[in-house]
């Protein structure tokens, strides 16, 4: 093949590619506008129907069960349900269920279209019917990551303890981002207690860590004993320490003090885990037990961030704080921690 022929072919191929890119770009922009206008037109007819349903009127919503009407209806309803509370929310949800929209959405959660599955799942989460747990649990195994994430979020809104197990399994499988599972478990609240206590003993350290954080945030005092056990697990102890701090029970003080002292010992200087030490000191500070004061004082002489945490933990210790703690005012933790009294004093004394 001659250079001229190769040139000709290359020019044609690239030009076709270039024209195709430009056309695709223009089409994408145009289509986006068309779709937005189409949605807005449909939403203008759907919204009043849903508002009437919210008012308790008997409204025929059959057109929202299928096709484009279903998509628009679900998106509008999802937004509306997020903005109502209490009886209004319950009534709207019941009406949507009685009109068959929930069943239609559960069917569409298995649709061949990822977008349709996504919208259906978000709708089911917004309606919040515990009966949708099975459909959403299945969606945690979807091949599309965004659908799995939406399913996790939706499960957190169902208010059903049976959602814990599938969420934990998805977390262990790495199928859903940790943040989505964590918040879903938090949203389930105390309902999730039993499942969470079981998960604290899960073989996967990621599950144990996330569950520990959730137990602490939910204030589940029944988790105290397993959390104390997790403090001895190097892979989860930072989360366990934070959780114990949130629970605030003084039972945790001796073990936390002992583990911090072990981390601060010269033997562990090379391998000390500052993130755990800081978490444990913060936890002790939250608990506010004076038995921890010697630990804080030992920590003052360590790395800067550990010393910062110790100085902040010492601040609420009151008038009987040790003499060494008065030196804390010159530490960045005293200053950058916005202790303005000491800041002003330091400024005046310069």
């Amino acid at each position: 093949m001659s250079a001229a022929q190769v040139f000709g072919l290359a020019l044609v191929a690239l030009s076709v590619g270039l024209v195709a890119m430009v056309v695709a770009t223009l089409f994408a922009k145009t289509w986006r506008g068309v779709r937005a206008r189409r949605f807005a037109r449909r939403a203008r007819t759907v919204r009043p129907l849903l508002l009437r349903a919210l008012d308790g009127d008997a409204v025929d919503l059959s057109e929202l069960r299928r096709g484009h009407g279903a998509e628009v209806g679900r998106i509008v309803a999802t937004g509306m349900l997020a903005n109502v509370r209490g009886t209004d929310r319950r009534m709207l949800g019941e009406h949507l269920e009685s009109e068959g929209l929930v069943a239609a959405a559960e069917a569409d959660a298995r649709s061949g279209s990822p977008r349709r599955r996504l919208i259906a799942i978000e709708f089911l989460g917004a309606v919040g019917r515990p009966a949708s747990t099975a459909a959403l649990g299945a969606a945690l195994r979807d091949r599309i990551p965004a659908v799995r994430t939406a399913a996790a979020r939706a499960l957190g809104r169902l208010g059903s303890a049976s959602a814990v197990a599938p969420l934990v399994d998805a977390l262990a499988a790495g199928a859903v981002p940790r943040s989505s599972v964590t918040v879903a478990l938090l949203r389930l609240g105390p309902l999730a207690e039993e499942g969470l206590l079981v998960a604290l003993d899960h073989e996967d350290p990621v599950v144990r860590s996330v569950t520990a954080e959730v137990c602490g945030s939910l204030g589940l005092t029944s988790a105290r004993a397993p959390l104390l056990a997790l403090v001895r697990d190097r892979r989860c102890r930072t989360s366990a320490a934070r959780a114990l701090g949130r629970l605030g029970h003084p039972d945790a003080v001796p073990l936390l003090c002992a583990t911090v002292e072990a981390e601060l010992s010269p033997a562990r200087a090379r391998w000390s885990d500052d993130s755990f030490t800081i978490a444990a000191i913060n936890a002790l500070g939250s608990i506010g037990d004076r038995r921890a004061i010697p630990v804080y004082e030992s920590a003052l002489g360590r790395s800067r961030l550990v010393a910062l945490a110790a100085s902040e933990a010492l601040r609420p210790a009151g008038p009987r704080r040790s003499r060494r703690s008065t030196a804390l005012r010159s530490l960045p933790g005293g200053a950058a921690g916005h202790d303005t009294e000491s800041s002003a004093t330091d400024g005046a004394s310069r």
């Binding site: 001229a4 190769v6 690239l14 270039l18 994408a28 943040s179 960045p332 916005h338």
Partner: protein, 482 residues
Amino acid sequence: MSDLLLDALGIFDWFVLGYFAVLNTIMLVVLLVAAPVVLRSVSRPERPNLDDLFVNPMTPAISVVIPAYNEEQSIVASTRAALALRYPRTEVVVVDDGSTDATFELLRERFDLVEVAPDIGDEIPTAGAVRSLHVAADPGVPLVVIRKVNTRRRADALNVGINTARHELVCCIDADSVLEPDALLHAARPFVDDPDRVVAVGGAIRAVNGSIVDDGHIRELRTPRRWVERIQIIEYLRSFLLARTGWSRLGGVIIVSGAFGVYRRDVLVGVGGFDIESLGEDADVIVAIHRRQRALRHDYRVVSLAEPVCWTEVPSTARVLARQRRRWSHGLAQVLWKQRAMVGNPRYGRIGVLALPYYLVFELLGPVVEIVGLVAVLLGLWLGVISPSFAALVVVAAFVYGVLVSAGALLLEEMSFQRYRRWRDLGALLAAAVMENIGFRQMHAWWRLWGLVQAVRGTESAWGEMERLGLASGGSVPEHTP
């Protein structure tokens, strides 16, 4: 002219053709790798996912470090915007790097700063002495301002900021960066979802010139009127939306932009912070992190986000742009020379075998090939060594193919983030994708070549003053530099 020279010229012309074909093919492959990542990142539940991050107790706290030198036009707006970022726990550390204008005075007045004892950590050695440390009188404002002696190195100011930072993550931004309100949430997500491995996250940077910016927030995104600015928008799209996202997917990120990067503080301290001798400190620190993590046999990741999280004012004149590009090229040369043991070394995985050789051959030495290649092709054509068809083929490989890749970046932007709403903006950017390859590309190659020469000579390449148009006040960025 002897036959030998003519033959050599002919062979070199073939090499130039192959070079452009390979370069643009690599970019096309990167586009194809980046496209699914970008499209996935804009899936429907994006906003709720950020809400989840906000309420998640495991979302780590971030210290935002802002080095500032003579930034009186934008520092208050930038600081206020940084304090207003949507994130559960932050602090803002502004390092006034010996400003000679009213940078510090404006901060003191606006935030009611009080001086406190300047007790700052020394984990990272720093050069410029710290003169004073200030905090906001209102304890509800997590702001620290440090005044230090200027050493003409941004890296030194960053290191002082890192030493002062108290949180486990550190976000380093420029004083004139305009951040998206959810920028920190976007950047924190990889750390939350993969806390054991992610050590650094880079945000996608976009050009804000021509847009309406009000008090540190973008009100309306528009393309600027100057071609030099429009072309840079295309460059940034290609660089961040395509190249870095693609490299991130391949595990080959070697640069996290200094305009916006989030790092694990302990990892930064572990590599000794930013190198104050380097002009490319943003690339230098990432390559150093790669080296150290490999040496420690850690399983780690450096991530580059596709989401535009940071908007920056790009040079609006060729003069300032030339200085910037010379410095970038000089900095890249320094980094590659410093870490030359990693280049082509399989011990460093894809960084050593793919990423660093790519940057050496196509980014650093690319201008040499482009300029010498252009001369060689013209000479070959004149001497009859190559046919007009062949010369046209080189043009196609270099320019038409290049326009195709740029158009691909624009298509990806239109299918994903859709930040430019007006049709005229899309038209301007399409035209810029073509114009970039006529004149600008050659000038750019010349500037980069000069930066490489400076690096080889060991010439000091100064930062110089960036002509700021000022984005803090209401209204659009003015058309002409005052």
